[in-house]
Symmetry: C2
Subunit: 122 residues, 2 copies
């Protein structure tokens, strides 16, 4: 009833780790360590994702159907080397696109509270 409010949750960035990961995966399937390196490189070391954050994002996103995992191992040296790769799904792409729109809105909102220039003391 009434005007629909546009969906700006206040925990905006929290979920943006997922968005970053999905972006990397939209190029090609990848696995934890690789993704972490790519995030570091893409941001010129400005953002370094924590391992636990990364891996918990995987399980969450797989549960939500945004990614699919598959184990590719044993093909290199014949040993039991197991890497878990993740691949983005259509739902994941959709989610990513929504998040991008949300980000535009968020930016707009937040920047209403940030005119140029510092607040001067006194």
């Amino acid at each position: 009833m009434g005007t629909d409010q546009i969906g700006i949750s206040s925990d905006v960035i929290r979920g943006y780790n997922d968005t970053m990961i999905l972006f990397i995966l939209s190029r090609e399937p990848s696995y934890g360590y690789e993704i972490s390196k790519q995030i570091r490189q893409l941001t010129d070391e400005k953002y370094i994702i924590k391992e636990t954050t990364l891996y918990s994002a995987f399980t969450r996103m797989e549960k939500n159907g945004y990614v699919e995992s598959y184990v590719a191992g044993a093909d290199v040296t014949g040993s039991g080397k197991k890497r878990t790769y993740y691949r983005i799904t259509d739902a994941g792409r959709e989610y990513y696109n929504e998040k991008c729109k949300e980000w535009q809105l968020t930016k707009e909102v937040v920047e209403h509270f940030m005119p140029q220039g510092d607040l001067k003391e006194e």
Copy 2:
């Protein structure tokens, strides 16, 4: 040791409610209901802060020394009507300025993962 990493926490936006409130308070001291209305208006109803979020931000920020409260009551109708006003402190201004810088960085980082255009399905 090594290069200092610039402080991008991943819970970035969570704390931006505080920043928005501080911006409002940088204009003039105010109280809960007023601030909530101003946030609504400034953002064209795009962002409506939840009451509990707002008031818990007050107590947190007062504990952190970013705002000071004072009760101005009984002057309106003569009854025991108490309004708690908040005023920004110097520490609050400093915090706000830092948050603005952090925001610029965050924007830069996040947008590395958002080139123009949607991800197409398939």
